[in-house]
């Protein structure tokens, strides 16, 4: 139900960032945030399919209780490398480094990020970190679990822990620099009239994410540095026989790695906050509350980390305090969900592919978030901690939430990125396949957890088999759901129908420039005179605003928030 221009079909603009210069040098030495976003897109997709391959091996192996496919050591490497690849090289960079990089300057009306060369540097740092980790994977592999728990990782593992840890350590700096770039850009480079409360919520979400990246990532760098020193030089930071404490590692690790969950999900929430108003053609309900909820999640998210450690023997008092804070951090997510839902009421809702992903996100994120309440409740955690319930829970957040948001965003902005539309019906079918495949894969794992199947098991008692078979079947469907978009989005980038500047139409500044944009984004610096997601005072969108509602032709004043 896109609004097709009544005039002649749109044509590709003559000059844009993709054809401004040619040759491999023009890409590898670019400082254009849009080209860097595409460099990230290529490398992050590469890691996604490597991580996906490991996942497929895990699911195939678990088809039968005794698993004939892999040896125990190989299985342990598969789930470890799946986790490390997906968390550090796919989920954390996916939305911020690809969509955030591409869109934040466009959304605030700037020519580029604040530090274009540092932006290119962060991509190189990411690649170098990735190469270290890949090297460890082919040279002995990694079998510590993505959590690198000591003393197993530092004293007992017979795998290439050191290079992998160094790889993750290096990649962290890419994340810190990206966060820094976003913060400075949002503070200093907003176009005239783009007040804080006219910023799209995608930008607010990335602002909150950047805070977590800058404050949290140094902690994981230090932690992994200590673990590497213990492993290589035998310094006993975490070794109890030398006066160290293995639990200290977990405190330090989760101090970053819990907030890192919000690095993965907050940007996806930002995407959803763009999709729902666009396809409901209605302001986002409770804009200020959703913006504040993003910041609240980023801040409170820093003080819930020991809920990963309720059963390590930590003090009972600490466990009770952190359980309480865990329930508090759930509230802002609930507020967002209610506001998204309320936005739909009174809207004009279409079912274009990005909106299907938004609906999918709502359902799956809701299940992921609500099952977090089971794990946060101390009494229930005694039973389901470290079982498949946890695996199912975080996949609902990470895949059901973050990946659905990522794919929804990729479809939504694909016409802006490439100037061309993807095949709509194929995309809708793929979204549907993903949703079905995802639930089939991960819902049975909740039940496995309730039954008591621990995580990270290469073999299991036969009573657990039925749900493992379901999960593996679902994973096969899911794999098709991931391959389809990769194929047709690539195809559409070259052969898709020309999209025009604003095919949906949407209200953000990024849609006020041509698709694909010029290297310098806008011909003249835009002046913002409207509020975010305002469809009523935007005659330029060419929509029918009912008489008496809004005031077509008269745009809102540049300042004032009423």
């Amino acid at each position: 139900m896109r609004t097709e221009a009544t005039g002649p079909a749109p044509e590709m603009p003559e000059k844009h960032y993709l054809n401004a210069t040619y040759g491999i040098r023009s890409w590898l030495l670019t400082t254009d945030h849009k080209r860097i976003a595409l460099l990230y897109l290529a490398s992050v997709t590469f890691f996604f399919f490597i991580g996906g391959f490991f996942a497929m091996m895990i699911r195939l192996h678990l088809l039968t209780p005794n698993g004939y496919l892999l040896t125990p050591d190989l299985y342990n490497r598969m789930f470890t490398m799946h986790g490390v690849t997906m968390v550090f090289f796919f989920l954390i960079p996916s939305i911020p480094a690809i969509l955030g990089n591409f869109l934040i300057p466009l959304m605030v009306g700037a020519k580029d990020l604040a530090f274009p060369k540092i932006n290119l540097l962060s991509w190189y740092i990411y690649v170098v970190g990735g190469l270290f980790t890949l090297w460890s994977m082919v040279n002995g592999g990694l079998d510590t679990g993505w959590t690198f728990y000591t003393p197993f990782s530092t004293l007992y593992s017979n795998s290439a822990v050191a290079p992998a840890v160094v790889g993750v350590f290096i990649t962290g700096f890419s994340s810190i620099l990206t966060g820094l770039n976003f913060l400075v850009t949002v503070h200093t480079m907003r176009a005239p009239g783009m007040t804080w409360f006219r910023l799209p919520l995608f930008v607010w979400a990335h602002y909150a994410t950047s805070i977590v990246m800058i404050l949290g990532t140094p902690v994981i760098a230090i932690t992994l540095g200590l673990a590497a020193m213990e492993r290589v030089f035998g310094l006993g930071f975490f070794n109890p026989a030398m006066g160290g404490d293995p639990i200290l590692f977990q405190h330090l690790f989760w101090f970053y790695s819990h907030p890192a969950v919000y690095i993965m999900i907050l940007p996806a929430m930002g995407v959803i906050s763009e999709l729902i108003p666009t396809f409901a053609r209605k302001r986002l309900f409770g804009y200020h509350f959703v913006a504040a909820a993003s910041l609240a999640i980023a801040v409170i998210g820093f003080v819930v980390w020991t809920h990963h450690m309720f059963l390590t023997g930590q003090s009972t008092y600490a466990a009770v305090a952190f359980s309480f804070l865990t329930f508090i951090v759930a509230i802002p997510s609930a507020i967002k969900t209610f506001n998204w839902t309320a936005t739909l009421f009174g809207g004009s809702i279409s079912f274009d592919t990005p909106m299907l992903y938004a609906f999918g996100f709502l359902g799956l994120f809701m299940i992921g978030g609500l099952t977090g309440l089971f794990l946060g409740a101390l009494g229930v955690d005694i039973n389901i901690h470290d079982t498949y319930f946890v695996v199912a829970h975080f996949h609902y957040i990470m895949v059901g939430g973050a990946v659905m948001g990522y794919l929804g965003g990729l479809h939504f902005w694909w016409p802006k990125i490439t100037g061309r539309m993807y095949p709509e019906w194929l995309a809708r079918i793929a979204a549907f396949i993903l949703f079905i495949g995802f639930n089939f894969t991960f819902f049975p794992q909740f039940i496995l957890g309730i039954m008591g199947m621990p995580r990270r098991y290469h073999t299991y008692p036969p009573e657990f088999q039925i749900y493992n078979v379901m999960s593996t079947a679902g994973a096969s469907i899911l794999a098709i759901g991931y391959l389809l978009p990769m194929v047709y989005l690539t195809w559409a980038a070259f052969y898709g129908k020309v999209a025009g500047d604003n095919p949906w139409p949407a209200t953000g500044l990024e849609w006020k420039t041509q698709s694909p944009p010029l290297t310098e984004n806008f011909e003249v610096t835009p002046v913002v005179t409207w509020e975010a997601y305002d469809f009523h005072n935007r005659p330029d969108l060419g929509l029918d605003v009912p008489a008496g509602k809004g005031s077509p032709g008269v745009v809102a004043p540049a300042h004032g928030d009423d």
Binding site: Y149, R281, A330, G379, I447
Partner: protein, 327 residues
């Protein structure tokens, strides 16, 4: 098994009913909200579907009353769930005093368990039904976790320290236990069976073929062998406090604070004797770090525990005079 699509395992401990009740409560509450929101979304998607290409939605900013409502109501429910969960957990972390104590040592990739009379088992645990059981957990290498799904309890087994867990089996039978903290190659096969028996059966089993030395007498031998006995004189006149009656009591420390003499305290005192100095004594005890094995620490602890019933000397016991002390 019973049904082709099984869900909850059997409820075989005192905790199982409580844990499942809270689980069901959270399930019902979250299901209510999830279904409500899902129905609202489906309703809105149908009712407010786009009817003409250029249509726009209403111009609504928000509603502060709704915002306050959907912030407060979930907060209140969340705090309720938190409190219920915390109550179960605190009960689980504080073991009663009348427990049957079993020492459990995890190592890659097996469990060694020892009954109070010294009988040892590998990957098997026999316990009587209806009795409070406390597991004292130590590790020889990496972190493990002792998990019995039918009892709904687990606890990490961490090298360098003791963790404890307790439960009361309420149903005889044979139940799986697992290692649920990833510990390397054979993590998945590091498990076994808990056998819950009638007390009489258990007594018969316990007195059956054993040959293992009971930990108290093993500990007593070590107490002499490591020359502990030369300072820790039982009449309180030695260079170190008498250990009679110390276990479970409050000990007064040099800095004026008190500490309960539990398994963790005794372990620490053996391995890092200068961490807590008893009031009135000099830090003269050497560390036994690296000299005693996990099993030997277990035996020493069992021996010190057995001194609980010995007469406490008037002077030189280190026990705090406060009324909170047990003796």
């Amino acid at each position: 098994m019973q049904s082709p699509l099984p869900t909850f395992p059997e409820q075989a401990s005192n905790f199982a009913g409580n844990v499942d009740a809270l689980f069901s409560f959270i399930l019902m509450t979250t299901l209510f909200f999830a279904v409500l929101v899902t129905l609202l979304i489906i309703f809105a998607a149908f009712k407010f579907r786009r009817r003409s290409e250029k249509e726009v939605g209403d111009d609504v900013h928000g509603n502060n009353v709704l915002e306050v409502g959907w912030t407060l109501i979930p907060t209140i429910i969340a705090i309720g769930i938190f409190a219920w969960g915390a109550a179960i957990y605190v009960n689980y972390r504080i073991a009663p005093t009348d427990t049957l104590d079993i020492y459990v040592v995890g190592k890659q990739w097996m469990w060694k368990l020892q009954q109070p009379n010294g009988r040892k088992e590998i990957n098997e645990l026999h316990i009587p039904v209806g009795r409070n059981v406390k597991l004292i957990l130590g590790s020889e290498d990496v972190i493990h976790d002792f998990y019995v799904p039918a009892f709904r309890v687990k606890m990490d087994v961490v090298p360098g320290r003791y963790n404890t867990m307790w439960f009361r089996p309420v149903k005889t039978g044979k139940y799986h236990f697992f290692c649920s903290q990833y510990c390397g190659t054979n993590h998945a096969v590091m498990g076994g069976w808990v056998t819950v028996m009638e007390p009489a059966e258990y007594a018969a089993w316990l007195s059956g073929e054993s040959g293992d030395v009971n930990p108290v007498s093993a500990g007593e031998r070590l107490f002499t062998q490591f020359a502990c006995v030369t300072c820790h004189l039982s009449n309180g006149t030695g260079r170190a406090p008498s250990l009679n009656g110390v276990f479970g009591a409050n000990v007064l420390l040099a800095d004026g604070s008190t500490v309960v003499a539990d398994e963790a305290y005794i372990r620490e005192s053996i391995l890092q004797p200068n961490a807590k100095i008893v009031a009135g004594y000099q830090p003269v005890m050497p560390t036994f770090q690296g000299l005693v094995t996990e099993e030997q620490i277990g035996n020493l602890t069992a021996y010190i525990k057995s001194l609980q019933s010995q007469p406490v000397p008037a002077k030189g016991a280190g026990i705090a005079p406060s009324p909170a002390g047990k003796k």
